[in-house]
């Protein structure tokens, strides 16, 4: 049940300032619920960011990243209209991909 991300990519010179909001429980596996039971691990393992299809970031995350994570990336050599793609995959095999277009700074 992967929820959509929000991606903003603003051009600053030739650098795209990319801001990504993700919705994910990022359960560490150490938290107990109200009944005292351990909530099983459920977190994003891997995040890939692409620029016009080319991978510019391949990150391995762990349960140390908190719930509803925010990721900021600056991509050099970008132009307005370029495509930024973001894909995450979690430890349960759930995946989500969203895309944004680089816009010129207003």
């Amino acid at each position: 049940m992967a929820e959509p991300m929000r991606i903003r990519a603003t051009l600053q010179g030739d650098v795209a300032d990319v801001r990504i909001l993700m919705m994910h429980p990022m359960e560490t596996g150490q938290r107990k619920d109200s009944k005292g039971q351990l909530v099983p691990q459920h977190f994003i393992k891997n995040v890939v960011v692409t620029h016009n299809g080319k991978v510019v970031l391949d990150a391995q995350w762990s349960q140390a990243v908190s719930r509803n994570p925010f990721l900021g990336v600056r991509v050099k050599g970008a132009k307005a209209g370029d495509k930024i793609g973001v894909t995450w995959e979690d430890n349960k095999g759930d995946k989500r991909t969203d895309e944004a277009t680089v816009t010129a700074a207003s």
């Binding site: 929820e3 903003r8 919705m23 391949d58 990150a59 509803n68 925010f70 900021g72 991509v75």
Partner: protein
């Protein structure tokens, strides 16, 4: 393939702090606040709310597109800034959440008790439909000024009652809203208290709900905020959509007239 690219960009990865370039580096809290204003996890619930608004749901398999928030069926811009207001069809003063529930019951066929029961989601959950919808509808008035009027006698009653309740002290702590929110530059422990008997203070309140509550990881609404205050005051539980809650909301929103809506807010 990925390793080469990764180390090349590594220095710039997770560069959340790069936003400092746009703000004063000697005010880290200010930088943080600015970043949260630009990228608030609550934004994700606007999208959810929009989806829920248009989706055919409930026993009647209908969307909320025909819901009248006071500006006519389906008209959302400028609707939330006029709430709470009197509605002839229910003969009541309704705030945003009451009106939503009215529509979910009448248009979509949901049972009122069921909707109310799930209205406030557990912390750490994916949030309730009402939370997402309330945020989405309010966001459609982003940039617009709070504009509550008290033309109808019932609106005037709600306002006066809300004012009375704001200053009403009770319980073993002798607290009323005014106890914590009646002075400037006050805080409980390290939590700043909004000075709600000042124009700027109350405007800051009414313009930033619904808000993402960081500690709960979900969007919270004004109804929840009022409930939580009474919890903290060691008083009984404020009933969802109760008269007291609408009265207090009417009082605060009217006092906050002129405030420019900017949701989702970000609260601790």
């Amino acid at each position: 393939m990925t390793r080469r690219r990764f180390h090349f960009i590594a220095a710039a990865c997770f560069s959340v702090a790069m936003a400092a370039a746009h703000a004063q580096s000697n005010d880290p809290l200010g930088v943080g606040r600015q970043m949260l204003e630009q990228d608030n996890p609550g934004d994700l619930w606007i999208d959810k709310g929009k989806e829920l608004f248009h989706q055919k749901r409930g026993p009647k398999n209908a969307s909320l597109e025909q819901c009248d928030f006071g500006m006519g069926p389906g008209k959302l811009e400028g609707a939330s800034v006029r709430l709470p207001r009197y509605f002839a069809d229910t003969d009541k003063v309704e705030d945003l959440e009451s009106r939503l529930v009215t529509c979910m019951v009448n248009l979509q066929g949901y049972k009122r008790e069921d909707v109310v029961k799930r209205a406030i989601s557990p912390a750490g959950s994916s949030g309730s439909d009402i939370e997402a919808l309330a945020l989405y509808i309010t966001s459609r008035s982003n940039g617009m000024k709070m504009n509550v009027s008290l033309n109808h006698p019932k609106e005037q009653e709600m306002y006066k009652a809300g004012e009375y309740l704001f200053f009403r002290r009770s319980g073993q702590t002798d607290f009323g809203c005014v106890t914590c929110h009646g002075d400037a530059n006050k805080r409980i422990r390290l939590q700043d208290l909004i000075h709600m008997t000042s124009k700027e203070g109350v405007q800051g309140v009414v313009s930033t709900w619904p808000a993402y509550r960081g500690a709960h990881f979900v969007v919270r609404t004004m109804q929840w905020r009022l409930y939580d205050c009474f919890w903290q005051m060691r008083l009984p539980e404020l009933t969802y959509l109760s008269d007291a809650s609408i009265a207090l909301t009417t009082y605060l929103h009217y006092q906050g007239n002129g405030a420019v809506t900017r949701v989702p807010g970000f609260k601790r």
